[in-house]
């Protein structure tokens, strides 16, 4: 218990110090919403803390590059603790409810959990300066979480099974997946497998040209169902399946750099959304370092780091710097992501519907109970 008390006292002291030194307040602050900007004062306050504890569910390589770049730039160690899926949120909730303040930043792909814990008051309410100029509205949960990268859903295929021209023609719309020739050759990520599959199936539900029946039609194609997308991408590369949905472009690009024999194309409409948000713990033990970490990736410098990990930054007007794109430009099949196909899910709809729709989607795909 002494440890907890000491941490609590240190946390309060650090918060007081932060307020006094680094954190810039604005008119939003009067509403309890803090505006966080990367200022010299914040940087020096964060450097005095020397460390930031980040819990994350994104790929390990991506976080490794982010951590390394952050350390090189600010000389602040990133203690990265990976918890996939909803585990990070659950663990943070359990800690906070028990009065243990351990995590500074949650880089979380669980919007439902984020909103839920915000109601309990465990997340800092904050915003970024010039927010509308910097980010698309779809890239953040207002005052709560800000996503530094886009997740753009694509249809991935194995060119040995479906030649590029045929794939481009076939998958102009999602209806191409209903081609009888693809029966038994489609891989689907199961609805409970993460934000990307749920967003994609939600898109079918919410768009009349497809409707919820489309999922049933896909089920009639006897797809292979995958608990996670990684296994599906492995199978796609090996030729065990001919096409996989939903994949997303940045992760597909990493595969190509690694030597995967896969390609992808863009249908008429596809989810493009912010999948992973930076949220700051209200009781962060390293409050300045937490603020700096969460805000820096929305500067041009931080956005460039995201591109090192082949992620497409949400920060507007950034030059294309991804090495995978440079490689892909040399191919005859790849073309840049067509912005007009973006379907941005309504986060409120997402949060309200996931509890009921995910079991329903699973039943549609053949699970019982």
């Amino acid at each position: 218990m002494q440890t907890i008390d000491r941490r609590g006292v240190l946390g309060l002291a650090a918060s007081a110090l932060a307020i006094g030194s680094g954190i810039r307040s604005s008119s939003a602050a009067s509403e309890g919403i803090e505006t966080i900007d990367v200022t010299p004062a914040l940087i020096s306050a964060a450097q005095r803390e020397g460390k930031v504890v980040v819990r994350y569910s994104s790929p390990v390589d991506e976080m490794a590059q982010m951590s390394e770049a952050f350390y090189k730039r600010f000389n602040i160690t990133v203690q990265a603790d990976r918890k996939v899926g909803v585990l990070g949120t659950q663990q943070f909730a359990t800690e906070e409810r028990a009065g243990r303040h351990i995590m500074d930043v949650n880089y979380s792909a669980d919007p439902t959990g984020i909103k839920d814990l915000a109601e309990e008051g465990y997340y800092l309410r904050f915003t970024l300066p010039d927010l509308e100029a910097k980010l698309d509205k779809a890239a953040y949960l207002p005052t709560l979480g800000y996503c530094p990268k886009w997740t753009e859903v694509v249809i991935s295929y194995n060119p040995s099974a479906i030649p590029h021209e045929r794939a481009r023609e076939l998958f102009k719309t999602w209806n191409g997946l209903l081609d009888p020739a693809l029966k038994g050759k489609i891989g689907l990520n199961e609805p409970a497998g993460g934000g990307v599959p749920f967003a994609t199936y939600l898109m079918f539900y919410r768009n009349p040209q497809y409707g919820k029946e489309f999922l049933a039609k896909l089920a009639a194609q006897r797809p292979r169902l995958y608990p996670g997308s990684a296994q599906a991408r492995e199978d796609l590369g090996a030729g065990a399946i001919s096409v996989f949905i939903p994949n997303w472009e940045s992760i597909a690009m990493i595969g190509v750099l690694r030597g995967d024999k896969t390609a992808w194309t863009y249908p008429d409409i596809a989810p493009a959304f912010a999948n992973t948000y930076f949220c700051i713990s209200k009781n962060a033990p390293n409050p300045n370092a937490a603020r700096l970490f969460a805000a820096w990736f929305f500067t041009p410098e931080g956005a460039a780091v995201m591109q090192l990990a082949q992620a497409k930054p949400t920060l507007k007007n950034q030059p294309e710097m991804r090495t995978a794109v440079a490689e892909l430009k040399k191919t005859d099949w790849w073309r840049p992501y067509p912005e007009e196909i973006r379907w941005i899910p309504d986060t409120d709809d997402w949060i309200k519907s996931s509890d009921t729709l995910i079991p329903e989607m699973r039943r549609t795909l053949g699970w019982r109970g």
């Binding site: 359990t94 409810r97 296994q231 199978d235 590369g237 992760i251 109970g369």
Partner: protein, 622 residues
């Protein structure tokens, strides 16, 4: 009239008991003891009685106090996370959430769902349909292999002893990679070969099926039955079988009437062990069964703790259902082993371990074992090694594409050394703690029966009855306020609580095979109970202790389900790294890690056997 040394303890109590004991000894199967003339033995009961009287009342009290102390400590350790799980099952939200209220909704959804088409119905049915045949088949296979390497003169036994344990050295998730590479119906190498040889368009194997899942699980669990029985087989006195052979019993009859009944304690322990593992296994049915909507209870629970939408109360409630299922297994085990004296194989008289001469049949047996090894163990392992050497998985094998890049990535990873160090600390720590505590507990439970000891016996089996993820959540809820949280200490504690039952069962099984008369003989010679334990039981149990130690060591080396909830940035382990690589799609690096892990554990195994005398063949009484 003759009587046996085995019965001296009973005989001394009264003259009437004497006759009854003699009669009962003849009905005890496989208890063939040294016959002693009555006149020579008649003095023994008086001496034992005198020694018994001589044992101070204080000594008895100390033993009782130790038992109750153990019971209290184990109860606190076990009950804390288990109570958190049960408490969580009756909440609308996670414990600690201020919006949570008491409710039966999760319990109703789980238990009524079994009958009204709820989420637990098909999952529970699938779980049972998988666990029972897998338990029977894996136990039988492991038993057969243990018999082959210990009780026959088959050539190459030493190699097989190590070979049959290979699949214990890496994660089931990696095993799934191996089997997928081999037997994917559309892209498996074996199916490709079959198609090339026969021109057939239909695959020969389909790993994504009920049969495929069961197949992988059988070969994954059979080594446990092998490990848990190889010591018992080695300790078995060949005289028992020789007497039966002299009486005209053939090999099959000897197996059925002598060997298996005497081995029942070890067999039951192995079956119980495999049954509980099969119930809580989420990785194999999860990865292979999802393709065909074959979900099991453990996988459904895993989804509730890891995927969207999170439902921890539901997971906790379903954990209680699995606990009930595994309790049925525990009950069956207790029924099978309730008469521990029936399993006595190491008696006070001269002891003769040995092998059955099979003549030319030994080469046939060798061929069968080699086939099992190749098909069940070597093939997926080679596939994993192949995947580790390939940048991407392909349908065909191209030697030109082999590379060590995955190993380079692995060894340049910042967490690799940390994970290696943590895993070894935890595996050594948990194995040692479980062996030491398990020895004391097993001795208490096996040798001196009482209500408290029966409770203790049930208590230590509880944590293995719930899936590891649920147990991890229970530990998280229970220990988040303590300084142990996010340290190696909480992982170590979780492993000791969860796996103590395995060392108790394996050591207890061996103890049942050691005749109490040995201790009584020591007492006659003036030894205190402690001395008797140290100089009679402990030397006999040394190989079994090594076996129990290795068993827990191997389990912890690849434990993922509880760790995934409890680990932190500084307490990452090799199985967690494997999990992360798999989640990121780095199957090649995960395979490289598995191969590395096999290499490292293999070295530990060799060091233990060569330099520290650990001997899984358990020449107990030699």
């Amino acid at each position: 009239m003759m009587f046996t040394t085995k019965n001296v303890g009973a005989i001394h109590r009264s003259g009437e008991d004497h006759a009854r004991a003699v009669c009962s000894s003849s009905s005890a199967p496989a208890s063939i003891e040294r016959r002693v003339p009555l006149t020579e033995a008649s003095a023994i009961p008086e001496r034992i009685e005198a020694i018994d009287r001589g044992r101070s009342v204080a000594g008895e009290r100390i033993r009782a106090a130790v038992t109750w102390l153990f019971l209290a400590v184990v109860t606190v350790l076990v009950v804390t996370p288990m109570a958190a799980i049960v408490f969580g099952a009756f909440r609308t939200r996670s414990p600690g959430d201020p919006r949570a209220t008491f409710s039966l909704q999760s319990i109703e959804a789980v238990y009524l769902g079994l009958f009204n088409g709820g989420w637990t119905q098909s999952a529970t049915l699938h779980t049972v349909l998988l666990a029972i045949p897998v338990t029977i088949s894996a136990t039988a296979l492991g038993l057969f292999l243990a018999w082959a390497v210990t009780r026959t003169n088959m050539p190459g036994k030493r190699w097989f002893e190590f070979g049959f344990l290979l699949s214990l050295l890496y994660s089931p998730l990696v095993g799934v990679i191996g089997w997928t590479v081999l037997a994917d119906p559309a892209a498996g190498l074996l199916n490709g070969l079959w198609s090339a040889l026969t021109g057939a368009s239909d695959p020969l194997f389909n790993i994504y099926s009920y049969g495929g899942i069961a197949w992988v699980m059988i070969f994954f669990f059979a080594p446990y039955a092998f490990l848990l029985n190889v010591g018992g087989f080695r300790s078995l006195d060949v005289t028992l079988e020789e007497v039966a052979a002299v009486s005209g019993a053939n090999l099959f009859k000897r197996m059925m009437l002598i060997t298996l009944p005497v081995m029942m304690a070890g067999i039951a322990a192995a079956a119980l062990f495999i049954f509980t593992l099969a119930l809580e296994q989420f990785a194999i049915p999860g990865f292979l069964g999802t393709h065909v909507q074959f979900d099991t209870l453990a996988y459904a629970i895993f989804l509730r703790t890891n995927a969207y939408p999170s439902d921890l109360p539901g997971a906790a409630a379903a954990g209680t259902l699995l606990l009930i299922l595994s309790s049925i297994g525990l009950f069956a085990y207790r029924r099978l082993t309730r008469h521990s004296e029936r399993f006595v194989a190491v008696t006070a008289r001269g002891y003769k371990p040995g092998v059955t001469e099979l003549g030319a049949g030994r080469y046939v047996l060798f061929g069968v074992c080699l086939l099992i090894f190749i098909v069940g163990i070597a093939a997926p392992l080679i596939a994993v090694a192949l995947r580790a050497l390939l940048p991407v998985r392909t349908m065909t094998f191209d030697p030109g594409s082999l590379t060590l890049d995955n190993f380079r990535v692995l060894f340049s990873a910042a967490d690799m050394l940390l994970g290696l160090r943590n895993t070894f600390y935890l595996a050594f720590g948990a194995a040692t703690a479980c062996s030491v505590i398990g020895l004391v507990v097993a001795f208490q439970i096996t040798r001196r029966k009482s209500l408290a000891k029966s409770i203790l016996d049930y208590m230590i089996a509880l944590p293995i009855g719930v899936p590891g993820t649920v147990f991890g959540v229970g530990m998280l809820w229970a220990y988040v306020r303590t300084p142990l949280y996010l340290t190696l200490g909480i992982l170590l504690l979780a492993f000791v609580i969860r796996y103590l039952v395995y060392s108790v069962r394996s050591i207890g099984g061996a103890l049942m095979q050691i005749d109490k008369a040995l201790e009584e003989s020591a007492a006659v010679a003036g030894a205190t109970p402690f001395k008797s334990f140290m100089f009679v039981n402990l030397p006999l149990l040394r190989p079994v202790l090594a076996s129990a130690w290795l068993l827990v060591f191997l389990i912890v080396m690849r434990e993922i389900s509880s760790s995934i909830i409890l680990y932190g940035a500084h307490t990452v382990t090799l199985p967690i790294l494997t999990w992360n690589y798999l989640n990121d799609g780095s199957y090649g690096v995960a395979s490289a890690l598995a191969i590395t892990q096999i290499g490292i554990v293999g070295v530990v195994f060799i060091v233990l056997t060569r330099f520290f005398g650990a001997d899984l063949r358990a020449r107990a009484a030699e």
